[in-house]
């Protein structure tokens, strides 16, 4: 087992290094000078040179790559070219919006999707089932940014219950902050809820055919208790798998939704950094996302190894 873990760790290190090289090279090829973007059309050549030196862009590419790698290893992500503050601080600030947004969206999607899926399974083949499936189909088909705009029209412009966008900041109070996140989370949650409802329904239908469900019914449990206690637990496994897989879709969706609702999250940060040629922020964020994906993969491989001893040999 130890040998297996060591081999996997070496592979992990190499993958991360390869990702870093690809990210650095691609962004290096991209034409454009961050100093020119900051100083604009009237910039004097001396001013551009001074700013490039200040940003560390006057050093050769290989040295900059090594400095960047060293920084990543020691937790120093460098200074944003645009905002001129440490990138780590920017990421921490934005995480305080994106993380709660994603968690709220998952909570909403689960709270909507699982009961709907159960309902459809228990009314299999009837009108309710068809209704839930129609909802799921619509939820998957409607683009979430458009749904977000509809929500704004109804709840912000029409009824005035919720703010149309923006984020007051947690220091303004938990209540107003959650309120600001509610509509974007709902917009993000809709397609997730639709997927969860569909998966729950089909998984539930499969489970309801199992022998242990018949046994539960036979020992006199009510239909509701059978569903919740015996069927749902077993049916949830594929649902949880789907939830894990959908997390990256959620992050991608957050980039669009954060722009629609003018939320200062990670998605908006990466979007603005690309537009403003804040390459160091783009590099760090892409590396962060890639690193996360690679680490999750690594954890999964370790789990496979635990489950299947044959995999440890190869």
């Amino acid at each position: 087992m130890i040998g297996y873990i060591l081999r996997r760790l070496a592979a992990l290190g190499l993958t991360l290094l390869a990702a870093a090289v690809v990210i650095f090279v691609v962004l290096e090829i991209l034409p454009g000078d961050p100093a020119a973007v900051t100083l604009g059309l009237n910039a004097a050549p001396e001013a551009l040179a001074a700013l490039r030196a200040e940003m560390g862009l006057d050093k050769p590419a290989v040295l900059r790559f090594l400095l960047w790698l060293g920084g990543l290893a020691t937790g120093d992500l460098g200074q944003s070219y645009t905002y001129r503050v440490p990138v780590l601080q920017l990421i921490a600030e934005r995480m305080a919006v994106t993380l709660p947004l994603a968690l709220m969206a998952i909570a909403l999607a689960t709270a909507i999707g699982i009961p709907l899926g159960m309902l459809a399974a228990s009314r299999h083949g009837r009108l309710t089932d068809a209704g839930v499936m129609a909802f799921a189909q619509a939820g998957l088909a409607i683009p979430n940014f458009w749904f977000g705009l509809l929500l704004v029209l109804v709840f912000a412009v029409g009824l005035g219950w919720l703010p149309a966008g923006g984020f007051p900041g947690w220091q303004a109070g938990i209540g107003v902050s959650l309120k600001a996140l509610l509509m974007p989370a709902l917009a993000l949650a809709l397609p997730q809820a639709a997927i969860i409802a569909r998966v729950t329904r089909s998984s539930m239908l499969d489970t309801l055919q199992e022998d242990f469900v018949r046994t539960a019914r036979a020992k006199g449990l009510s239909e509701g208790t059978t569903m919740r206690r015996h069927a749902l637990r077993n049916a949830l496994i594929p649902v949880v798998t789907i939830l894990g897989l959908q997390f990256s879709v959620l992050i991608a969706g957050a980039i669009i939704i954060e722009n629609v609702f003018a939320l200062p999250g990670l998605g908006r940060l990466v979007f603005q950094a690309i537009a403003q040629h804040d390459l160091i922020v783009v590099k760090d964020l892409v590396m962060l996302f890639a690193g996360l994906a690679i680490l999750i993969n690594f954890a999964v491989e370790l789990l496979y190894g635990l489950i299947d001893p044959r995999l440890r040999q190869s």
Partner: protein
């Protein structure tokens, strides 16, 4: 029953969020929330060109020796008065007494000297360093007097001192102004939630008239739909320059809001590479000028009338002459000129477009108009950094569309190596003469000559002036409707 409990917890969170007490959104009468499209990258106007920095900080947090008022006139600010000696190069500024920085540091002549010397230093990262290069020497005979001696007469020197790049900063706080700005202005910095909002509060120790508002918040919204929704929902009291022109009729119909279409210094031009064949041929450029139906272009971009231009000059300036009739829209004549130039069947070229929607939208229409006379312009969209690199720096382009937003920037046509590649010694001499002419009347005459020269040479396709679409709550007074300089002075706002 754990599963059920988990489910209930999820549902409970949603219910909790929905039932939170509704916080009163009603505006207290001494605060204001103003939306603007772009967020400033930093809060220091002396270290970056971004217009958004000036929009929030200039005349609010930071002040210069002089300022520009809403009509574009120069007014005293940190300098109470000034005299220009008969030699035309010695400026003597009498400074405001009793002005203080937000951290309590008294404002004196030393900081003026420091600020300008910092801006012109070898390692300066000031985006408009050329404003300060005419300075030969700065002396401070006493704490309330600054004497600036120039190398040669420079007519627009004083005007440049009203720009954000020339604000007065204190030595102790200059380096940290990017994130924690400390100026002398009527408002001081409170908090910046990057990506969302900037909060300012009234500076109660301000030297001038006390502002009516105690608190002001700038909100940054780049999405046009989000801007409209926030205005209609009352989340914001104003937008300084809406980026959704198609929403103007809808907002005008809203009795709670007031919409005005004002002018700016943003001359939008079909930039033309004057050194690259066939654009080095005057007849080709004249043909293009005759093909551009400005009214249709502007209407197509905005859906309402905006000021059209026939040269590189803003109608906000008193020296403006209307030259839109120099080469009126006439496709037949344009074709004839092309044939004379040796292109009876037209030619192919590229039209490189930066991201702003005015450029992308007008680009489509310009390409269609050029196609009418046989010029097949292939549109190539570029991100702004790539535009800067390829078009602006490397001059690797045929045609492009961009607005030049710096005020009074007709002198860019006299700069060596500027991307239009217009090389005209006569025009250069004219610009040099303008710079030496301190008399307003005489200088305005020269400006008129310069405008005519550019129009006749059809250096660029001159299209329209970027409008300032201001939307304000009908009860809020004092918002600037024109932008002789892109600023939003909060001290001039008050609730009715």
């Amino acid at each position: 029953m754990t599963t059920r409990r988990e489910l209930l917890a999820g549902a409970g969170l949603a219910a909790l969020a929905a039932q939170l007490p509704v916080v009163a959104l009603a505006q207290a009468k001494d605060s204001v929330t103003i939306a603007q499209t772009l967020e400033p990258p930093t809060l220091d106007p002396t270290s970056g060109a971004a217009q958004a920095i000036r929009e929030v900080t200039l005349q609010n947090i930071f002040e210069g020796l002089v300022k520009v008022d809403r009509t574009g006139k120069i007014q005293p600010c940190l300098a109470e008065s000034w005299q220009i000696a008969d030699d035309n190069v010695t400026y003597r500024f009498k400074l405001r007494q009793g002005a203080k920085f937000h951290d309590g540091t008294p404002f004196t002549a030393e900081q003026v000297k420091f600020s300008f010397e910092r801006a012109v230093a070898a390692d300066s990262t000031n985006a408009q360093r050329q404003l300060f290069t005419p300075i030969a020497e700065i002396t401070t005979p006493d704490p309330a007097t600054v004497v600036i001696k120039l190398k040669q007469p420079t007519a627009n020197f004083l005007f440049g001192l009203a720009w954000g790049d020339a604000v007065i900063v204190a030595p102790a706080t200059a380096a940290s102004n990017k994130t924690n700005p400390v100026g002398t202005g009527p408002f001081k910095f409170v908090r910046w939630n990057r990506g969302d909002r900037l909060e300012l509060a009234r500076n109660d120790g301000y030297w001038g008239e006390k502002p009516a508002l105690a608190k002001a918040t700038f909100r940054f919204m780049s999405d046009p739909q989000a801007q409209v929704a926030a205005l209609r929902a009352g989340d914001v009291d104003a937008h300084t320059n809406l980026s959704a022109p198609e929403a103007v009729p809808q907002l005008k119909a809203d009795a709670k809001l007031k919409v005005t279409i004002g002018g700016t210094e943003g001359e939008t031009v079909l930039a033309t590479n004057n050194a690259k064949p066939p654009f080095d041929n005057l007849k080709v450029r004249q043909a293009i000028a005759h093909a551009l139906d400005r009214k249709t272009i502007a209407l197509g971009v905005y859906g309402f009338d905006v000021p059209l231009i026939g040269s590189h000059f803003s109608p906000l300036h008193p020296a403006y002459v209307d030259l839109t009739g120099t080469y009126p829209y006439d496709p037949a004549k344009a074709k004839a000129l092309l044939a004379e130039a040796g292109f009876p069947n037209g030619f192919n070229c590229t039209l490189k477009l930066p991201p702003p929607s005015y450029a992308r939208r007008s680009g489509e229409i310009v390409a269609a108009l050029l196609a009418q006379i046989g010029i097949n312009a292939a549109i190539e969209p570029l991100e702004f950094p790539q535009w800067l690199e390829r078009v602006f720096r490397n001059k690797d382009y045929d045609l492009s569309i961009i607005a030049h937003t710096e005020p009074l920037d007709i002198d860019i046509y006299a700069r060596d190596g500027y991307y239009f590649q217009y090389k005209n010694p006569e025009f250069k001499a004219l610009i040099a003469k303008i710079s030496e002419t301190l008399d307003d009347g005489a200088r305005n005459e020269l400006y008129k000559q310069a405008q005519r020269k550019l129009a006749q040479d059809a250096v660029n396709g001159f299209l329209f002036i970027l409008p300032k679409i201001t939307v304000v709550n009908a009860a809020l007074e004092g918002m600037w409707t024109d932008w002789p300089l892109p600023v939003t002075p909060l001290a001039e706002l008050r609730w009715r």
